[in-house]
């Protein structure tokens, strides 16, 4: 699961704790770290370095070579990077992934916000409904994609034929122009709960008397929603948009289960092109692709940090 944080906030806490500790303990023990604390920390550091840092460095290193994954290789400078910028397959995967992510982020946030407003209103069966709405989050992406795959290629066309809607009579997934809609629908189906829970947390924090005052001033429910609720949860909107966008850029499981990148290559995500380097023999080339993708991910994280900094009050 992806999360969001502002290191500055996290920093303040432990620092405070550290100062407290210093105040309580005799100065001598402040100077020396108990060896056991290294024992607590070092295994994580070693495994993390082995599992993530070294592969990361390896990837960047090999992106400047012509390695095919095994055997001899030599440095070829920026050749891979130059080739990527004129590779229609990779450009298409970026275009698809960004387009799909933007549409999904909008769909997820509109639906999640409205559901959250409903779930915090005076309704019946509140906790049962909340329980149901979170279920998609805990279901395996690939398996639910297989289930939707069946519905899109069997049930929906027969419904379309019965209703006489021509474009629905054939499978959405077989249509290069429409297959992305199916991917948006299933991804949104699974991503709404996370955004919903965050919006509920935001809405619960809005004091009720604000609405009472607005009611007395004659504001309609819709005006209240637009002029009071939305601005008050703006911080949560930002969090949900960035969290969602970062997650959708990595799209893989659901696409594999629905279209496997097809028809043709019309729904191939960035992650899928990168992984194709594993079988396709263009290992170093796809490492360069992954490195570019990494830079993109870092840039988005920097935007995230600059937008969420100073929102400690949330």
């Amino acid at each position: 699961m992806s999360t969001i944080t502002t290191p500055t906030t996290s920093k303040q806490g432990p620092q405070k704790q550290g100062r407290q500790k210093q105040g309580h303990q005799p100065p001598r023990s402040r100077r020396r770290v108990e060896p056991i604390f290294y024992l607590f920390l070092v295994p994580s550091l070693i495994l993390f370095t082995l599992a993530i840092t070294i592969p990361g460095i390896m990837g960047i290193f090999f992106s400047f070579t012509n390695s095919i994954g095994i055997g001899d290789w030599e440095f070829i400078g920026l050749t891979n990077y130059i080739a990527i910028f004129s590779d229609p397959a990779i450009l298409q995967s970026y275009l698809f992934t960004f387009g799909f992510s933007i549409v999904t982020v909008i769909a997820v946030n509109v639906v999640a916000f409205l559901l959250a407003v409903g779930l915090t209103a005076r309704i019946r069966m509140k906790s049962a409904l909340r329980t149901i709405f979170v279920i998609p989050m805990v279901v395996s992406g690939i398996i639910i994609a297989y289930v939707f795959n069946f519905l899109f290629s069997n049930s929906l066309p027969s419904l379309g034929a019965a209703a006489g809607i021509p474009w629905l009579e054939s499978s959405l997934l077989a249509n290069p122009d429409l297959a992305w809609i199916a991917i948006v629908l299933v991804t949104a189906w699974q991503a709404v709960p996370g955004a919903l829970l965050i919006y509920i947390a935001g809405l619960v924090a809005v004091p009720g008397d604000v609405y009472e005052a607005a009611e007395i001033d004659g504001a309609s429910k819709f005006q209240q929603l637009l002029k009071i609720t939305l601005p008050l949860v703006a911080g949560y909107v930002v969090i949900n948009i960035i969290l969602g966008f970062k997650g959708f850029l990595n799209a893989y499981d659901i696409i594999v289960g629905l279209t496997n990148g097809g028809p043709g290559t019309s729904t191939r995500s960035i992650a899928m092109t990168v992984i194709s380097g594993f079988n396709g023999g263009d290992y170093a080339y796809q490492m360069a692709n992954a490195t570019i993708f990494f830079v993109v991910a870092i840039l988005i994280s920097l935007v995230q940090l600059s937008l969420t900094r100073g929102r400690n009050a949330l």
Binding site: T5, S10, Q15, G59, I123, I143, Y146, S155
Partner: protein
């Protein structure tokens, strides 16, 4: 008279309970449940009924044929054992490693090594798996970790950031006085951790554990790329069998999907408190 009373009563209720909103939400809940209903009903159909084209019909008669065939086709006992191994390993390793590291970091925050380690471990939140996947496949292959244990290692390391974040936030709120009184009683740091700190971390461990569980149990991408021997694959990866062969035995494939999905849904129903808390804390408190 009675009628009047009743309408009066229900009209005053209309102001209190928002029925339009309730109705809309119930309809939305149906769209959530529909794919799950289709999965369950298809799984219990006979082959004849499963291919008749109506996915929404109720199974008549109820048949366990799909489950029986799915059990042997996907070699379910082995798949379930592998999924269980990966999940249990990831949950345990994540809780223990993250709790250890977080305790060391928070108690030694004034030391540069510990402070930098915190940001270092948090760094994984900015590295998506696809970026490092190719070298990881190579490396796990060379180290003999192209099996469920390699998945445990990688999954744990990707879960570590979120878990360390939650644990450190919580540890900061535990007053030092509590630990000092334990130390005055002669407890070592090791004993203090296990007797005092770890039990106090229980609610956070529940959240960290359920997220590690859901990730490890449901993930397709990582095991499909890291585990090289198909016989050692986890349940989600085994389902691709029905995309290539047996693609028309819908009752078998849906029975298989159901067996692979159900444990996560059941686990969620029992731990929803921690699931819901984890989403909010991970995103907002940070």
């Amino acid at each position: 008279m009675t009628n009047q009373l009743m309408t009066k009563k229900s009209s005053s209720k209309v102001e209190r309970v928002n029925w339009p909103a309730t109705t809309v939400l119930v309809l939305c809940a149906v769209t959530v449940l529909l794919p799950l209903y289709v999965t369950v009903s298809m799984a219990f159909k006979t082959q004849g009924q499963a291919v008749d084209g109506n996915a929404f019909s109720f199974p008549a008669p109820f048949s366990l044929e799909g489950f029986v065939q799915a059990w042997t086709l996907t070699n379910f006992p082995v798949g379930a054992a592998m999924s269980l191994l990966v999940t249990a390993g990831t949950v345990l390793a994540t809780i223990i490693l993250a709790a250890f590291a977080s305790y060391a970091i928070v108690r030694n925050w004034e030391r540069r090594l510990f402070r930098y380690s915190f940001f270092y471990l948090l760094g994984a939140m900015f590295i998506p798996f696809p970026v490092v996947a190719l070298p990881q496949i190579q490396l796990t292959g060379r180290l003999g970790l192209d099996n469920p244990f390699g998945v445990i290692l990688l999954a744990t390391m990707f879960q570590l950031s979120f878990s360390v974040l939650l644990f450190t936030a919580f540890l900061r709120s535990i007053p030092m006085e509590l630990e000092e009184s334990a130390r005055i009683d002669g407890a070592t740091t090791w004993q203090t951790f296990w007797k005092l700190i770890f039990p106090l971390l229980a609610p956070m461990s529940a959240t960290v554990g359920i997220f590690a569980f859901l990730y490890a149990w449901n993930d397709f991408m990582m095991p499909s790329l890291i585990i090289s021997d198909p016989a050692m694959q986890t349940l989600p990866v085994r389902q691709n069998l029905f995309q290539t062969q047996f693609s028309n035995n819908y009752h078998v494939s849906f029975a298989s999907y159901l067996m692979a999905m159900a444990p996560a849904i059941v686990a969620y129903l029992f731990t929803q408190r921690w699931v819901m808390a984890g989403v909010t804390q991970g995103a907002v408190k940070g």
